[in-house]
Structure formats: C-alpha cells, structure tokens
Symmetry: C2
C-alpha cells in the first residue's frame, strides 16, 4: 500500500463528513457566520508518564529540572491526548502495605486536568513485580494480586479508567530469567484462568472500565490466547500490541500482516508500546531486548531522519486500519528504557524530526484549525473533519460538539 | 537424566508388583507350579498402515510383492500393538460420494485381528484435503466436513475407536501454501470453534471413542490452544505430539522441556508421528519439511548406528514420563514420506539396528517371557511385570489377567 492509498484509507476511516443544522428557538440560523475549531482527536495519541512529570506534579522540582519538565510537558500536550502511568508492582509498592498511590494519583490528575485520557500499566506482570511475593504460597500470592488490583482500580476510579490488566501472558508461565511470584502463580493457574481472575477483579472494582490484554508476542500464540479467552467468555475490551522496534522498523507489510491476524476478533486494537529508534539498531541476535546492556546509545542525525520517515509511515499504516484506536509512544524522551535513542524528543527535550513531522500530521493535516464558516439559507453548513471534539463559536457563544463516527454525520445544534 | 535414572523411572512408572492369590472353589492352590507369560503391553507401540498391507488385506498382491508385505507385517507384529490408518480426505474420497471405506476397513480389521489397536488419522486437516471443497461455500464445506466425520466414525466403530480429530490447528487458518477448503473454514470459524465442532461431531457418532488433538507445533501456541479448548469445555482425551526429527534428534533435554509444557493438563500424551532418520540430516534452514525435495535419500551404516542410539534414548525418555501412553513411528519402512531413510526397516524390509535394539527392549528388557512360577503355602506368588495383559497356564488351563496399574497390585484368580 503506497502513501497515497494510506492517505485515502485514513480519510475514509478517520473522518466524518458533517452537516450541521443550526437553529435558535426552532428557527434556522440562515447565512450565519461562525468559527469552527477542532479541540481534540478521538484517536488516542499517547506516550508514557515521564519521571520528571511525576516529580513535578508532586512539587519535587525546581530550577533547571522544573524548566526541563515543563518543556517536556509542553511538547507532550501539543501532540498527545493519552498518558500511560506506571504501576509496576515492585516499584509501586516496594514495601508491602506502602503503595505510592498519592504520588501517582497526583501525576495522573495532572494529565487528566490537561486533557489526557490516562491508562494504568500494568496490573499483573511477572517482570518488575514485588519481590516480597517470593516468600508467599501461591494462594497468598493470588490473594495479594487480587487485592492489589481491587485497590488500584478503586483508588484511581474517575482518573484512570483504562488498564493494561495482564501483561505478556504468553511467556508469563514459562519465563525463566528469574524466579518471581507471578510466574509461579500463572504456572499453577494457567494463563486463561489467571487472565479471567484478573479481568473479573478489575471490572468488579469499576464496572465502567476499559480493560486491555497486552503482549509483545504477535505470533499465533497470542492470537490463540485471545481466542481462548474470548471462547471462555472473558470480556477483553481492547487488544494491546507492543512494538518495541529497537531492532528495526517492521515495515508496512509486517504491520499489516499482524493487523490481519488480530482484526478477526472485531475488537479495538491499541498499539500500546511503540518505539522506532534514531540511533544504531540493536543487533538481531538479541532475543530478549533487556539483554542488550549499553551505557550510551546516541541519537544520530542520519538516524533521526530515518526515524522520522519510519514514524510517519508507521502512524499512517495504523491509522489506515479501522480497528486501531490508539498508538502510545514508549519513552517520549531519549535515554529511558535501555538508554535507547527511542524518544521523539532528545535528552535535552528538543524535538527530533519525527516529533515535528508527527505534529504536522496530528495538528496539521489531520486537524481542523479555527475556520470561518457560514450557514446557507436553511441554517446548514458542511465540512469534513477527523473524528473528535469540536467547538463552534458565534460571537462569544461557544457550543461544543463531537464527531464520533466516520462517514456522513448530521447534527442539529440549537443555540 | 542419565540412562540409569531413565531405567529406574521406567521401572517406577511402567511396572506393577503383582501378588496373585490362586484358589480353586475357594481353597488356596498351595505350592502349585504354573507358567506366566506376558501377551501384550499396555503401552502403545505403533506405526503407520503400510500401503502394501492395505493392498494385501484387499487381496491385491501376489508373488514377490506379497512376500515383501508379509515380511513387513511379521516385523510389525513382533514389535507393535498399534496401527495408524490413513484418512486423508483427498485420497480417501477423491471423488465426492465414493469413499475408500471398504478398502481401509479391510486393512484396519487385519490389524485388529492381529492384536493391534487401530487409530484413524486425521478427520480434519487442511493438507491433503479434498480438492472438491474448493467449489463450495464455507457453509457447504462445514456440512461436508461434519458429514464426513459422522460417516467415518460410524462406519469404523468397533474397529477404529481412536481418532486424530483435528490435525495441525495451530497453523490451520494461516496456512498459505495453497488455497484449500479447511483453511478457509478455520479462518472463518476460528480454531477453537472448529475444534469444538469436529470433536463433538465425532463423539456424537461414537460416544465411547478416544479423541486426539494432534500437532507438530510444540511452542506455547499449541500449549495455549489446548488450554483454550479445555477452558471452553471441549473434551480432548489425548494430546497428540508429532516429532518428525528429520533435522536431528531433539535430545533428552528438549524432549523433557516439551513434556513439561504439556504435562500440566493431566491428559495422556501420545507421540503420534515419530521419526529419527538413519541418513544425512535435512538442513536446518528448511522450515516446512515438505519443502525438502529429493529423489534419493540413502540410509547409511553410520546413520543407522546413530539412529539406533537415538531411538533407544528417545523411547526411554518417553517411557520414563508417566503421561506418555503411546509412541507411533512414522513410516516403518524407508523411502516413504519425503523419500527419507526414516524407517526402522530398510526398503527391502530388513531390520535396521534401531529395530533390533527396540525389539530387545519391548519384547526383552520390558517383557515377561513364559516363566515357571510356584505358589507358596497360601496359594500366593509375586512377580514384577510391565503393565499389560498376561496369561497364566496350569496344565492345559489358561487364565488371562492384566496388570493395569503401576505399583502394588493384588489379584485373586479363582480357577
């Protein structure tokens, strides 16, 4: 699929052809001038928390550090409407009974107050889980895990209503790098029974919630796991797919093959952890990315140009597919996970070409800036816009509306 | 696990310590001489049909061909108590409505009459399926597939009561070598829904049946598929695992890792399609074994010695694990599938060292030949034997009995 066809598919799948009929006390507002402006995308463009933002939201920063955090946030809010918050059990509750709830809640609220939907990641994962589980029996681990989900989901209700519930279940029971409580639990319960327990616990704590299963495995194993869960009656709301492309961009064909594998479930798909790096690629012989240990991994000018091209192609490929509803970038700023040049910003928070190019799409080509329009003699006007929320202004009066569906949409606004 | 430990585990898992108490009209038969002889193994040692045996059972052979078939069968029945019969749809029913039922039934009965349990392979598989499905809608393919299972299972009841129901479901919907009706059907139904339909159809046609899911994929994908089926309430009686080791013997460690992956379901495991070849190994870069096209693939003396060592180690590894209940060799004679030197017999039906070594175990080390024993003053005697059926003879009187469970077994025989 070439660029032109991608753009056509994006137009087809992401835009509404809106016809607004304006009236005042039942009388059409004929030949009325106004301004219409997009306020937000329906599509979720997101990234990760940022340790500096958590510190800032908790009043821990000052001086240069505060300035850097503000710079990051400025770039963040220009581009994104989604933020992933960290709930790695071992870090969230390093000492049993002393969770970092307030600290993460402050940061999550900051993102929410600044127009972002907030997602929690993850509620159940074998990596970075609490070490103190190792002293427990399987039954006690299960009780602690269920209690933990119940606590977090309840404590964050209204701020975080979207969760990566179980992370990397495909390898969870066979993970053998080190002993941990969750692998033990999954080995004993089986993947599907574990997933059912965690999903049902989360939903019971907050029935209006959106729950993801998330994995980096895009082989038939994950496909079959999802099928098994659905056949067993487990309500998965969204399929989460990780794409840490430290070893090279997948390309359009592989991305489309993966989409074909998962579209058959007729569930929304979120690309939850996306990276294309702007430095030297990680060697292909590395199987577990965590095994690649370097202290420095620079971003290069040539790498940044390549990254920009690939990022645009990847975002376009995903937006061209109707099942995809979110793309989250993993590590907005360089020198995060693995010290990789994986950010859209450099370590000094200056935007890379990929950031600029993406912004040109998200807030340019795919965006309706404030635009003057006039109704016809019947009080009608038409325009095409990307799905999302909009604001119509006549003088000082502002009327919010939203375009939630693609294709022809007729709206009646009574002023 | 070394050889000694394997032998100990085999003794532990496969033998019974039997105490027989003999009486006549309620009176213990004290100090009575008798002979005890093993007649059959409970463990299933098997192989495939043999085109020559099908031809022979249908009276098609004469002269040298008949002699060769008889030679094969003689070696077969010395070693095996299980036979797999072919039900590849495209060959079994090349013209719709004209199945080869009688021909296969004659051969299956021949094996049954000669003491073998008979298994049908497979009822639903995308490879070698009927070409005439391609002209049908998915609904018609499903009707034909269900009708086919119902027909075969019914027609063979009492002769074949064990079936590989669905073969290679992991790749079934993504198989892309050529278009075929079953891949289309699986893509539409999903793997688990298809498996459910085929298993339920087979069981409805013959409720007392033993049904296998069979796959060459031993990755987490198959493990997860089985879990998904079981969580969905599908009754799988036996897990079938293929091991076509044309690219080299797995070794004990890999075999044990695979067993660990599948033992958690607490279901019997059959190694349904086992090959270790006695010639040059197939290059590792071949992914689908069917892609390796050679016209000649000789068995070599060095290869035959290696094969013998590996066959013995493989059989011992499997018998040492309590979940394994059957091992079927694939192609008893060389120059079958892929022209490979995969047989235990050479093309002229002469036994290779692997055959001789295996026979020494199955009918030697693991076997109780006719043995003279004497009861004590209470009419009791004890012996240790591999699980299976036995015959006790006193004079001309013959009493059959069986050892069905490992460990201590007490039997009372009233003569």
């Amino acid at each position: 699929m070439d660029n032109l066809n991608l753009d056509l598919a994006i137009r087809h799948n992401r835009t509404a052809r809106a016809t607004l009929t304006l009236s005042h006390n039942g009388v059409p507002l004929a030949n009325q001038d106004m301004r219409i402006e997009q306020k937000k995308h329906k599509f979720l463009f997101g990234s990760t928390w940022g340790e500096s933002t958590i510190a800032m939201a908790n009043g821990d920063l000052s001086g240069k550090a505060q300035e850097q955090a503000e710079l990051r946030n400025e770039h963040y809010l220009q581009l994104f409407n989604l933020a992933t918050m960290p709930f790695y059990w071992g870090r969230f509750e390093p000492v049993r009974g002393m969770p970092q709830t307030q600290r993460i809640l402050n940061a999550a609220r900051w993102y929410q107050d600044h127009g972002c939907r907030v997602k929690g990641h993850p509620l159940c994962w074998h990596t970075l889980t609490a070490n103190w589980l190792l002293e427990m029996s399987s039954r006690e681990i299960l009780e602690a895990q269920v209690g933990r989900i119940n606590r977090e989901v309840s404590d964050f209700t209204g701020v975080i209503d979207t969760w990566d519930v179980v992370n990397e279940a495909v390898i969870m029971p066979i993970f053998d790098k080190y002993d941990n409580g969750i692998t033990r639990l999954c080995k004993e319960m089986g993947r599907i029974h574990l997933i059912r327990t965690m999903f049902e616990t989360a939903r019971a704590a907050n029935p209006g919630i959106t729950l993801l299963l998330n994995d980096f495995d895009v082989s038939p194993a994950y496909d079959i796991l999802i099928e098994g869960c659905l056949e067993a009656g487990i309500q998965i709301d969204v399929i989460g797919i990780q794409t840490h492309m430290h070893q090279g961009y997948w390309g359009v064909e592989k991305t489309r093959r993966v989409l074909e594998r998962f579209e058959r479930f007729h569930l929304p798909i979120h690309f939850t952890e996306t990276n294309i790096i702007s430095g030297e690629l990680m060697p292909l012989e590395i199987v577990d990315l965590n095994d690649y240990q370097v202290t420095e991994w620079p971003s290069t000018p040539a790498g940044e140009e390549r990254q920009a091209r690939e990022v645009i192609l990847h975002f376009k490929t995903l937006l061209a597919h109707p099942a995809v509803e979110a793309i989250s970038w993993w590590d907005f700023v360089d020198n995060g996970w693995l010290h990789a040049p994986a950010g859209l910003l450099r370590e000094d928070c200056s935007p890379k070409p990929a950031y600029d190019a993406l912004l040109k799409l998200v807030k340019g080509e795919w965006w309706l800036p404030q635009t003057k329009m006039t109704t016809d003699e019947n009080g009608r006007l038409s325009f095409t816009g990307f799905m999302g929320t909009y604001e119509l202004s006549i003088g000082n009066q502002k009327i919010p509306f939203s375009l939630d569906q693609k294709g022809e949409v007729a709206l009646h606004l009574n002023l």
